[in-house]
């Protein structure tokens, strides 16, 4: 048996060797796509928000919340129709990083495990990807609150 150290070294060497054969991701093209599509989603959200404030006489906070809800519902509907993953293939982080990606990450596993029933299938799997996001986000918010309390 080889010891762990040489094994690790060999693995590293092999990984470097494999890299020679692996095509590089198109970082520039992907980056430009993500920048533009992500920017467009945010700009569209801002447009809707401004429109809501102007025509519906909503306050800024209420308008923001409505926009968030709209974005989430749209992304989830697109996921249900099977279009979101096609969109994500093009946009990459452009639609994964906005709240739309979070919405997609809830519906996609839930649809997938539909055959396991409405409780343990859909119900549980809604959180298989989004769960960690909520757990970490909410924990961070508690920490933020505690820090604020200590500094008062």
């Amino acid at each position: 048996m080889k010891n762990n150290k040489t094994k690790k070294q060999e693995a590293k060497q092999y990984e470097a060797y494999v890299k020679e054969f692996t095509p590089k991701p198109k970082v520039l093209v992907n980056g430009v796509k993500a920048f533009i599509t992500g920017g467009l989603i945010c700009a569209a959200a801002y447009a809707v928000q401004t429109w809501l404030i102007r025509t519906m006489n909503l306050g800024e906070d209420a308008a923001k919340t409505w926009v968030t809800v709209l974005l989430i519902c749209t992304a989830q509907l697109l996921t249900g129709l099977g279009w979101f993953d096609t969109l994500a293939k093009f946009c990459g982080a452009g639609c994964i990083v906005p709240i739309t990606g979070f919405a997609n990450s809830m519906v996609s596993p839930a649809i997938e495990y539909k055959a396991e029933g409405p409780v343990l299938g859909v119900g549980a799997k809604l959180f298989s990807v989004a769960g960690p996001v909520l757990v970490c986000g909410i924990t961070a918010s508690v920490v933020a609150g505690l820090i604020q309390w200590c500094m008062r």
């Binding site: 991701p25 970082v27 992907n30 980056g31 796509k33 993500a34 920048f35 533009i36 599509t37 992500g38 920017g39 989603i41 945010c42 700009a43 801002y46 928000q49 923001k64 919340t65 926009v67 968030t68 809800v69 974005l71 989430i72 989830q76 996921t79 249900g80 099977g82 096609t86 990459g92 982080a93 452009g94 994964i96 990083v97 906005p98 709240i99 990606g101 979070f102 919405a103 990450s105 809830m106 519906v107 839930a110 649809i111 997938e112 539909k114 859909v122 809604l126 990807v129 996001v133 986000g137 909410i138 961070a140 918010s141 508690v142 920490v143 933020a144 609150g145 505690l146 604020q148 309390w149």
Partner: protein
């Protein structure tokens, strides 16, 4: 002018995400977590609020904005209600979004079936 600021801010945040996807081995779920937590941390440090003032939706719509909203809610609630605010503030500030995502997501998942390869 406002729209350009929104577009550039949102675009930049997504670009960072894309670079993380392409240049590191991080998978999409991990990136989502990193973004939400970093939004919260930046808000604790007082750095995200200026970005929101500059980029508006460009800073709130991407996931760091979600972390920012959670952290901001908790911090404001603490100022108003004391220590209990640390527990209630975060979720109540993002309640509409989370509830919509869960409720509508559940309905969508029940209505649609997974599609095969395109």
């Amino acid at each position: 002018m406002e729209y350009i600021k929104v577009f550039v801010t949102g675009g930049m945040i997504c670009l960072i995400g894309q670079l993380l996807l392409d240049l590191t081995k991080l998978t999409a779920p991990r990136i989502l977590v990193i973004f939400v937590v970093s939004g919260a941390v930046l808000q604790i440090l007082g750095l995200y609020e200026p970005l929101v003032e500059f980029g508006k939706s460009g800073a709130t719509v991407p996931l760091p904005g979600f972390g920012y909203a959670l952290a901001k809610g908790a911090m404001e609630a603490v100022t108003e209600k004391g220590i209990m605010g640390a527990l209630t503030g975060g979720l109540s500030s993002a309640a509409a979004g989370i509830t919509a995502a869960i409720g509508f997501g559940y309905v969508v998942a029940l209505l649609f079936s997974p599609k095969s390869i395109r």
